[in-house]
Symmetry: C2
Subunit: 231 residues, 2 copies
């Protein structure tokens, strides 16, 4: 297990399935989690629920902007339907220099369409929409779209899959990878510029189709990669 | 090695890197390959070159329509720039009942853009464009977008990756999978309807970005799938 970290990470949307699982997994590696929710009462409930699952975990409860203020790294994990509103509400919590990891997926389910279909986002992807909306100087990368929320939340499940990381700056991607790679069984892969998110996001819809067919929680692995991915 | 098959398969665009590698790999499992090229002389050269690589392989040379006439299964592996014209030329070789496996990827490179970017295809994907253009009753599936041409062509390289198969009829996908699964180290996965091709096709651009970063020929694997994928 990695050394205990003292830098907290904000998870916006931690009451949702992916955000909750991610909070548990990161907290288990010693990362204090600032749980953000639109409703502070919901954040408190989520923090209490997380504490039940992982008594040694460190969870604090905030409204979204408060969570963002409490950390230098912010993970956004909300349904696409709420991404834009959440980013607007977050703006007075975000500040230049923060690392912002967007995990939003524009599934057509956001407008009552199928979860195996995607919406076209004018900017190209949800991550690019996030980039447009955060304050200047916030460093945006995207990641975690293909990791099953159910798998993350079940702390007994052994993970063994890749996390596809996109972003315009290699250093930002590396920083996100250092955080996410703390979670045993996840391996971050540099998948290019932020615009590649339109593909990594759409993989969620593909995996939903595969999961429905095979009744599983599938993930992605890339083959034939070198040992050192972030030298 | 699987039993020798007597059913030939047409590979349209077999002089290209992916088509050539695929022809070799299939021929090695005993499938006679009808090599199609716009230029019959080029088809003959390609067949001779394939025979050099794999003396025991069975290769015949045709123009595109001739290759399609010679087989019940047709694989289309041409640059996106040529897909539409090739399909127009193929139309008198194709006929109802044939299985048509489209491997076309609408990379932006087709219009001198980056190979890490995709073109938007009005129908949704290159495979859906193919579906629109083939004669009625031709059974279209898409596959093979994520398999590296270089890996296929190097017969000494051990493959170990998945082939993402999309199509509207399960039976058609299964038939394509039975053919492609003959190649050792490839595992076909049912990824849903033909419309999912827009994602499987765009994975090519993603892998090109990953390959540039890591100087490799990466492929895709899906995790946590059952043993039996085509029961």
């Amino acid at each position: 297990m990695p050394a205990k970290s003292t830098d907290p990470v904000a998870v916006i949307g931690a009451s949702g399935a992916l955000g909750f699982g991610l909070s548990l997994r990161l907290a288990r590696t010693g990362v204090p989690i600032a749980i953000g929710s639109r409703d502070p009462e919901r954040a408190r409930e989520t923090a209490a629920r997380a504490k039940q699952h992982l008594p040694e975990g460190e969870f604090s409860a905030h409204d979204n902007a408060g969570a963002a203020r409490a950390a230098e790294t912010v993970i956004l994990s909300v349904p696409f339907r709420n991404q834009s509103e959440t980013l607007a509400n977050l703006s007075d919590g975000l500040r230049a220099g923060q690392l912002f990891i967007d995990a939003t997926v524009p599934l057509a389910a956001a407008v009552s369409g199928k979860a195996t279909r995607m919406l076209g986002v004018w900017q190209g992807s949800a991550a690019q929409q996030a980039l447009e909306m955060v304050p200047e100087g916030v460093r945006v990368v995207s990641a975690l779209h293909t990791v099953s929320a159910a798998s993350l939340s079940d702390l007994d499940e052994e993970l063994d899959q890749d996390v596809l990381v996109c972003g315009d700056k290699r250093a930002d991607k590396r920083e996100a990878a250092e955080l996410i790679d703390r979670i045993e069984g996840l391996r971050c892969v540099d998948c290019g510029r932020l615009e590649m998110s339109r593909t990594t996001e759409s993989l969620t819809a593909l995996l939903i189709a595969v999961n429905a067919r095979y009744k599983t929680h599938s993930g992605i692995k890339l083959t034939r990669l070198p040992e050192q991915l972030w030298e």
